[in-house]
Amino acid sequence: MRGAIRIDENRCKGCELCAVVCPKQVIEIADYFTARGYRPALYNDPQQRCTGCLLCATICPDAAITVYREARAERAVSV
């Protein structure tokens, strides 16, 4: 199943917990600082490995992560 996340950079405090729990390792820490002085987590997933498993959003202390998942295809109904 394919998924994606969006990280609210302004909320992120760069604690790295999401990057540690991500099983697909698609979250990295930026090399720049936000206006609040933190290095935010960045979602970098060129190979579309994110499954929308929710682990990052579950552990994020700042509720900065929104998770999306591919809608399931309609199941064919036998006639």
Binding site: G3, A4, C15, V21, Q48, T58, I59, P61, D62, Y68
Partner: protein
């Protein structure tokens, strides 16, 4: 990558205000705030909820929860919640307290609120130090743990032993639901959320006093990175403060089933 065919499966709960929190990076207070907010959303009781904030790092909780809130004197949140609940028995009343607040200066209030079986919900965040004032030793500081007021490590000969609040409160007949959970990994965070939900449902069905103790991290005052702090909970705190259900009244057991 986000595409048009994707739908949102998780977003920030409505009960959290847009305010940016003052918590340090990696502090699990934020996680526990979010869990309480998600539960209030799921039970659809935001408009009927009155929270009571304590003194400690969670002193500004009223800025972060989008429900009615009041602020109690240090340790007196259960006493204030008792009053609020008795005047407004149709409202959902919860306190959000840290260990310095609940287990130290507020020990009398929490014990008597529990023994009276007040129909309130208590969220007890246990991180083993006084976070707001700079990391002094709390009643729940582990033996041997270094803090700013026990610089050689907590010496149990002179400073006594940590209090296990959940076990203590579970001996009281008035309490209905007393459990300890942890916020150190996503699996335990999900279990914590279930316990918080049960604690609020206990109050909704007027089944009496419910308390959820949550082991939390304090990376700054423990002098650790956020990731190491979560490992510290798992390796050092949980052996001393075992997770589990210490008291679940028969009526509350039916809730779960």
């Amino acid at each position: 990558m986000l595409t048009d065919s994707m739908r949102t499966v998780y977003e920030r709960p409505l009960t959290l205000t847009p305010a940016l929190t003052h918590y340090c990076p990696g502090c699990t207070h934020g996680v526990i705030h979010r869990l309480v907010a998600e539960v209030l959303d799921e039970l659809n009781v935001r408009e009927q909820t009155i929270g009571v904030a304590s003194v400690g790092c969670s002193v500004f909780a009223y800025n972060y929860f989008d429900c009615d809130f009041c602020e109690a004197a240090h340790g007196r949140a259960p006493a204030m919640a008792t009053g609020v609940k008795r005047v407004h028995p149709d409202k959902i009343v919860f306190t959000y307290q840290g260990d310095g607040d609940l287990a130290s200066i507020g020990a009398a209030e929490i014990i008597h609120a529990a023994t009276r079986g007040e129909n309130i919900t208590v969220i007890f965040v246990n991180n083993g130090v006084y976070g707001m004032t700079g990391g002094q030793m709390a009643p729940t500081t582990l033996p041997g743990m270094k803090t700013t007021s026990s610089q050689g490590g907590r010496d149990v000969e002179t400073m006594g032993y940590p209090i296990r609040m959940s076990e203590l409160l579970a001996t009281l007949d008035g309490a209905s639901y007393i459990v300890r959970r942890s916020a150190h990994d996503p699996g335990h965070i999900n279990q914590t959320k279930k316990a918080i939900k049960t604690a609020f449902q206990t109050q909704q069905r007027q089944m009496g006093f419910a308390l959820v103790e949550i082991l939390s991290s304090c990376p700054v005052n423990w002098n650790m990175t956020p990731v190491d702090a979560l490992c510290h909970i798992k390796e050092k705190m949980i052996p001393y403060f075992p997770l589990g259900d210490f008291k679940v009244a028969e009526s509350v057991k039916l809730l779960k089933g």
